[in-house]
């Protein structure tokens, strides 16, 4: 094939790069930015399917502050993050440390870790729902077989147990995921460092605190940030397992807002999801600040 060399207009800087970016920018503008801005706008309106749309300023936001349901779901969401994220990261780190050793069956173990993550969360939640089931559930069966309980427990019936019933599936699904990320970080640590430490007679706990953890810190911080943001918007397992119950005790902010959208109250739903966004943003900024501060301090 014959082509004119070099002198093509395409190689000159100019508008050309934007043609390559256009599909990306268009999709993001239409299906992410526009909906977010739309939600932001709607949050200052009364906007229900039945009574139409009218501007009401900050009324939704002020209403949220006086709404017990909002405070309940805010408390639950923060507690959920506070309990599930550390569990996920610690368990994930444990799995990663295990897989970082030269094990004969490492590939097999690594595949096992991918499975909980690959199964759709809403689907595995159905299995968890059955595990917690009062009559047929695996949880009651195991505990009764071990003689730990005499009568079956209604796991989804009390606030505290229902809380853990939605935490556990989330930990199950995301701890393995964290482990895979951590494992990549661990494998980037030069082996000589460990060998040197061993020559110096360091105990393995000392090696962990002095070498592994500091070198893994960037990955840990990224994982902490992403897991926190992700856990803040938890929705799938809660919708399926508890539906937010009992009595709203496990309603996350995502579910709280979603329920308003689903019932046609767009104004208040939009306002709640803006609160959720602002909380995620504030937490992210705090993390980034703290990470930078810690990096400067060392």
């Amino acid at each position: 094939m014959r082509r004119r060399p070099r002198a093509r207009a395409g190689w000159q800087p100019g508008l050309r790069p934007w043609w390559f970016l256009l599909p990306l920018l268009l999709l993001i503008a239409l299906f992410i930015l526009l909906p977010v801005l739309g939600t932001f706008g709607t949050s200052f309106h009364e906007d229900t399917a039945f009574r139409g749309r009218s501007f009401n300023g900050l009324a939704n936001y002020l209403h949220a502050l006086r709404d017990a349901g909002f405070w309940q779901s805010l408390t639950f969401t923060l507690l959920f993050v506070l309990v599930s994220v550390p569990l996920e990261l610690i368990l994930g780190l444990g799995f990663a440390l295990l897989l970082d050793r030269a094990l004969p069956w490492r590939p097999l173990l690594r595949v096992c870790l991918l499975i909980p993550w690959a199964i759709p969360a809403a689907i595995s939640a159905r299995t968890w729902e059955l595990i917690y089931n009062y009559q047929y559930g695996l949880a009651n069966y195991i505990l009764r077989s071990l003689g730990l309980i005499d009568a079956p427990i209604n796991w989804l019936g009390s606030d505290v147990s229902a809380f853990f019933c939605v935490v556990i599936p989330d930990v199950w699904r995301t701890a393995p995921f964290a482990a895979i990320i951590f494992l990549a970080g661990l494998q980037a640590i030069p082996r000589q460092l460990y060998a040197q430490a061993r020559v110096d007679g360091a105990h393995f706990l000392q090696v962990f605190w002095r070498i592994t953890l500091p070198l893994l810190r960037p990955v840990l911080i990224v994982a902490l940030l992403f897991r926190t943001i992700d856990a803040l918007r938890v929705f799938d397992p809660i919708y399926v397992i508890t539906g937010g119950g009992p009595g709203g005790a496990t309603t996350s902010l995502s579910l709280f807002a979603y329920d308003y959208f689903a019932s046609g109250d767009f104004g208040y739903g939009a306002c709640i999801s803006m609160w959720l966004f602002v909380i995620a943003l504030v937490l992210a900024l705090i993390y980034v600040r703290a990470a930078r501060f810690a990096a400067e301090a060392t």
Binding site: R3, Q135, G269
Partner: protein, 276 residues
């Protein structure tokens, strides 16, 4: 020596825990899906193997299950293909062309994943209703493609950065246009990356729940996660065998694909997260 023994024991126990932890719910799902009665654990009935739940899931018209599966596959394939295409074009511009404030653009795209899904879903519903797109494939494909783009772009950029510039310079000298350089040089070299992005995008779309829940109303338009989440019995009794069989029919292929292509998936995931 005895420390070494302890170490080995601990490692073995850890490995056993890992396997049980990640597989137990999946195995329980398979067990219930193939058992004649859901109460086999508590009643002293012998465990009987049956395929009736599977037959029901695949054949019963009122469950629409094959339709859910088809919907999920169409939507996820289309969205993943779109994401790969759009992300390759964008990654080409971001790594090979003079784009002003590249880093700002790249981090801006990443920051988009900060938005909770619920802050999009209300307005998306309004948009799709106005377009009369509720219950259509495009109502899910387009938001899905946009939703997986930040991750896709980051992974593609990381793959493209690894390809030596000499390769595309040589193609340029031969007179290739940008699109030709991308299609004939970069994409073939970055094929593992392309495949990783496609797989990840597919899995994310296949697993998505909230958009699909809000943007589909008809049973015939639902995706699998929504369909299974909403499965209820007719008479108040939850048909656990059917639900677990449907879950198994859906997850076994997903698990098989994950196992077969684990290398691609892990490399994609770690690029997306560690280097981000």
């Amino acid at each position: 020596m005895s420390e070494e023994v302890w170490r080995r024991l601990l490692t073995a126990a850890g490995a056993l825990f890992l396997v049980l932890f990640s597989l137990a719910p999946f195995l329980f799902m398979l067990l219930v899906s193939a058992s004649g009665r859901p109460d086999f654990l508590t009643e002293s009935v012998p465990f009987s193997v049956t395929l009736e739940h599977y037959a029901r899931v695949l054949a019963a018209a009122e469950l629409h299950f094959p339709r859910y599966l088809l919907n999920s596959c169409v939507v996820s394939l289309a969205a993943a293909a779109a994401a790969v295409l759009v992300a390759s074009l964008a990654a080409y511009a971001l790594t090979r062309l003079p784009v002003p404030s590249k880093m700002a653009l790249l981090f801006g795209v990443l920051a988009l994943s900060m938005f909770p899904q619920v802050s999009l879903v209300g307005h998306l519903f309004k948009m799709m209703s106005a377009l009369h797109w509720i219950n259509t494939y495009q109502a899910l494909i387009l938001p899905y493609a946009a939703w997986v783009l930040p991750l896709s772009v980051w992974i593609m950029v990381s793959y493209f950065l690894q390809i030596p510039r000499d390769l595309d310079r040589a193609a340029q000298v031969d007179g290739c246009s940008h699109l030709q350089v991308l299609a004939r040089v970069l994409l073939p070299v970055a094929r593992p990356g392309l495949f990783a992005v496609f797989l990840l995008a597919f899995i994310f779309c296949f697993n998505e729940f909230m958009f699909a829940l809000m943007l589909t109303r008809d049973a015939a338009a639902r995706t699998v996660p929504v369909g299974i989440a909403l499965f209820e019995g007719l008479h108040g009794e939850t048909p656990w065998g059917t639900i677990m069989a449907a879950s198994a029919v859906t997850t076994v292929p997903v698990v098989a694909v994950t196992v077969a292509f684990q290398r691609h998936i892990i490399s994609g995931l770690t690029r997306g997260a560690v280097k981000g």
